[in-house]
């Protein structure tokens, strides 16, 4: 199975590790993520006004690219790795489904492109893993069970809100936890799992982000998490650098590593996980703890 895949800007830079790991995970699980030949920034934040269409153009262009590639691959799906891309693309797509007039206007405006027909289905990588592959299948492919590893799946906002785009329970999501359980990890329940990390306020209001990070991380640490797992490159950045600042200020006792779900999947599913284990020595130590 081949899926058209939209990386987004950050997956090509600070989130590069996520992309590399996810592409490999896909191969291990028997599918392929095929990057759209050309793509533009998704817009990052969905424009919430009722009267501005311009900000939806970039997402629409990506939807058209997906439509073109989908014809070739005989699918109407488009997979994203980044939570914010997922959120924006899915909200724009939904807005067109609910407002055919707006879609018509945009098609008239984008006269150098083919018309967008509104049929693309936006999927996050997690959804592919959970719905199309399934935790059972993943479990069957585990080479290195993550026994002893206490993981805290952190969702953040963009995968689950607003409700219209959520693919999991908004308040008690289980998809990431189920996948991590399939890998043999011990999944802890963090009540802060759907709390916001502060997102782009890292630029304009760092203190607000540090507040958010402190709440999330303290809840995680008090439940004994070895590692926080996230699918979002901005959450990863905010939680990692936020913890560093908090630690320097003495507001937290230690820093919990924050890694991408795809990286944990590689460690568990691949024979070739030595590089990852070298990067994350604490995981190696934990795995060795079980005395094997």
């Amino acid at each position: 199975m081949e899926y058209p895949y939209y990386p987004g800007c950050t997956l090509k830079t600070t989130g590069k590790k996520d992309e590399e790991a996810a592409l490999e995970v896909a191969k291990l699980l028997g599918f392929e993520l095929k990057e759209l030949p050309t793509w533009t920034c998704c817009g990052v934040v969905y424009n919430l006004t009722s009267d501005v269409m311009a900000d939806h153009l970039s997402a629409t262009r990506t939807l058209i690219r997906a439509q073109e590639m989908g014809r070739e691959l005989k699918t109407n799906k488009l997979v994203t790795l980044c939570s914010m891309c997922y959120n924006v693309l899915k909200q724009v797509n939904l807005m067109y489904k609910n407002n055919p007039d707006k879609l018509n206007n945009v098609n008239l405006f984008m006269d150098t492109e083919e018309d967008y027909l509104g049929n693309i289905e936006i999927m996050h990588f997690l959804e592919v893993l959970y719905n199309d592959i399934g935790p059972e299948m993943i479990k069957a492919k585990v080479k290195t069970p993550l026994t002893n590893l206490k993981v805290d799946p952190y969702y953040g906002c963009m995968l689950l809100r607003p409700k219209t785009i959520a693919f999991d329970d908004q308040d008690a999501p289980h998809v990431m936890g189920d996948i991590l359980s399939a890998l043999g990890a011990k999944v802890i329940e963090n009540p802060m799992t759907v709390e916001c990390c502060g997102a782009h306020q890292i630029i304009t209001n760092k203190e607000a982000v540090l507040d958010c990070v402190q709440r999330i991380v303290k809840a995680s640490q008090s439940r004994g998490a070895d590692v926080i797992v996230t699918p979002c490159p901005l959450c990863q950045y905010n939680l990692t650098t936020g913890q560093k600042s908090l630690f320097e200020k003495g507001k937290i006792n230690h820093q919990t590593p924050v890694i991408y779900l795809s990286e944990l999947l590689i460690i568990s599913l691949s024979d070739n996980n030595q590089d990852y284990l070298k990067d994350y020595k604490f995981i190696k130590d934990k795995l060795e703890e079980r005395g094997g």
């Binding site: 600070t14 533009t40 920034c41 817009g43 153009l57 970039s58 150098t112």
Partner: protein, 228 residues
């Protein structure tokens, strides 16, 4: 009055005033025919310098089109105006002090983050470059791609005029090409070798020979030179 083989005249409206000019003239020559004299906005007259950016509209068409005045011929009923200068934002930077971190272009020109992918820049580009794509490549830190896609830019400035996000695309592309040349593209070793050879003085002997020759002797040498 009527002469044989007279070239048919067409109507053009230059800054709103109608002129009859022979068909087949370039926009630039048509403006000169109509009596305008270029002190700015005409450079190479060969489509390379980008000094003669022009906006026009054809009769019964709603679209504003764009061209280089030296490269496009007049059409009947054309409305046109030339834009000899773009008051565009241009940063001062020292390439030696920059790097190729993914944010480097974003840091010099943060307005590229405002791009909404409307594609106006690509549509207006007289060089038919994928302008939007190179702005997007710059945004995601793909310097090489931005440099390649913007390579044929003549800096006419039309993209910057059309951009609703007020990006100066052509300066963004220029920065990408400079960074690409400095940090990404392989060094042109043959050029460095050639320069080193010249600096070592291997041509000195030949030149001092030439210096004392008479004009007729130089002409003779020139005629006898070996050409490929």
């Amino acid at each position: 009055m009527a002469e044989k083989n007279q070239i048919p005249l067409v109507s053009v409206f230059i800054m709103g005033k109608e002129y009859k000019v022979p068909s087949g003239l370039t926009l630039m020559k048509a403006m000169e025919y109509a009596g305008y004299r270029y002190t700015r906005g005409a450079g190479c007259r060969a489509g390379f310098c980008g000094a003669c950016a022009t906006i026009y509209r054809l009769k019964d068409d709603y679209r504003l089109k764009s061209a280089l005045a030296c490269q496009t011929t007049v059409d009947d009923g054309m409305y046109l105006v030339q834009l000899p200068f773009t008051p565009a934002n241009k940063k001062k930077y020292d390439v030696e002090k920059l790097n190729i971190a993914h944010n480097v272009i974003l840091k010099e020109y943060p307005e590229i983050a405002r791009c909404i992918s409307c594609n106006s820049c690509t549509k207006v580009c007289p060089q038919e470059l994928k302008v939007m794509d190179y702005v997007q490549a710059s945004l995601r830190g793909d310097i090489e791609k931005a440099a390649i896609l913007s390579f044929d830019c003549v800096q006419c400035g039309l993209c910057a005029f059309r951009c609703p996000a007020e990006i100066t695309q052509y300066h963004v592309g220029q920065l990408a090409r400079r960074l690409n040349g400095k940090f990404v593209a392989p060094k042109a070793m043959h050029t460095e070798e050639a320069v080193a050879k010249l600096n070592s003085g291997i041509t000195k002997k030949e030149i001092s020979k030439l210096k004392v020759l008479k004009l007729a002797e130089i002409k003779d040498l020139y005629k006898k030179r070996v050409t490929e």
